[in-house]
Symmetry: C2
Subunit: 220 residues, 2 copies
């Protein structure tokens, strides 16, 4: 049973790694669609989201099979449940990339973002994608060193996000209320994506190593 358990756990980890890669690609493309007002790319992100949903359903089935057939206990059990939570967060990250792509499509051919905040979004997109790729890397290489810098990346997104608000709220903001609302919501999507990515990366480290990095609560 231990042998079968580990083979099935590896399959589940591979699928989670694939999902991390899918949602990293989705956010990379959505950010490019947003910055370049690229309708075709936005449409691609929107139509690809169903693949993320399918991958999540498949992860759940693999986790159910593990639980039902292997009846793991103790740490083994927590690892499978962590994988279930990670799959849920990854699906949500896909949804957030989808929201970004939909914003790009809604305003097309106009740009959504004024020049003043383009750099902030380019940077948030870059860090978000990096976070998702780290999660993927941790699984592929089983090298949890890659997970060490996760918190720093998340802090970077939070800093850019906070700074974005001071730009929008400045009394000299010249772009009007509608643009401020778009920028506010988009900023929130990037910030939430990073939060989920951190949570996924921690859980994936746990799935790979059986230990939760920098974690003191019971929220595995």
């Amino acid at each position: 049973m231990r042998e079968a358990y580990h083979v099935e756990l590896d399959n589940l980890a591979d699928r989670l790694s694939g999902m991390s890669s899918q949602v990293a690609d989705a956010m990379e493309r959505a950010t490019r669609a947003l910055l370049d007002s690229d309708l075709k790319l936005a449409e691609q992100v929107i139509s690809d989201d169903v693949k993320v949903d399918d991958a999540r359903a498949d992860c759940e089935e693999k986790a159910y099979a593990l639980l039902a057939l292997q009846a793991p206990v103790a740490t083994d059990l927590r690892i499978v449940v962590a994988a279930l939570h990670a799959a849920e967060s990854l699906e949500r990250m896909g949804d957030l990339a989808l929201h970004v792509a939909k914003a790009a499509r809604r305003r097309h051919p106009d740009p959504v973002l004024p020049e003043q905040v383009r750099a902030a979004f380019a940077k948030m997109g870059e860090v978000d994608v990096r976070l998702a790729r780290k999660a993927e890397e941790v699984i592929r290489t089983k090298d949890v060193e890659a997970a060490r810098s996760i918190e720093a990346d998340d802090d970077e997104v939070d800093d850019i996000h906070r700074n974005l608000f001071s730009v929008i709220m400045d009394k000299d903001w010249p772009h009007g209320v509608a643009t401020a609302v778009d920028v506010t919501l988009l900023g929130r999507f990037y910030e939430r994506y990073a939060d989920h990515a951190v949570s996924v990366a921690r859980r994936i480290v746990f799935v790979v190593t059986g230990r939760m990095p920098g974690y003191t609560g019971s929220d595995v």
Copy 2:
């Protein structure tokens, strides 16, 4: 074992019902704090959030005990996993109520909301709280009829939320960008709370009845 399983499942359902009640209270108070600029009430919501986090940890422990000791399969297994997901969503609902309370505290003694949007937030708060209380009721009474109107309630929040945007984005919006940003984020918190409440209510119906209402995917 079947007897023990059902006793433990009832315990878990009770704890989820308690969490639903906690997050309903939190959103009710946060909305009052927001509308009345009531600092004391806002502080109470903020300090009570740790109790929701504790309840979630306790639900997880109960679910782990069920999985490890009873090794449920098939529908029984899916029910326990649904409870785990429901606990996660309920914790998130608590966080969203916390965000509302923090907004009320941040602007105190000034009101966060201009007169023009007060009614919309009063209504969204009312429907959000009603959704959380329905989840609680379904568990307590095991009467899933209460769950039937969940989708309609969620549609109501979505309608108010959409209408809110047209108010903010109107070119005659006289309250400036900073207020529009506050209103945008607060609107998003109420909308997300309702989304999570719907997901929780469906999962709770599944925990109680073993059947997912109006659900066609595998996302239990």
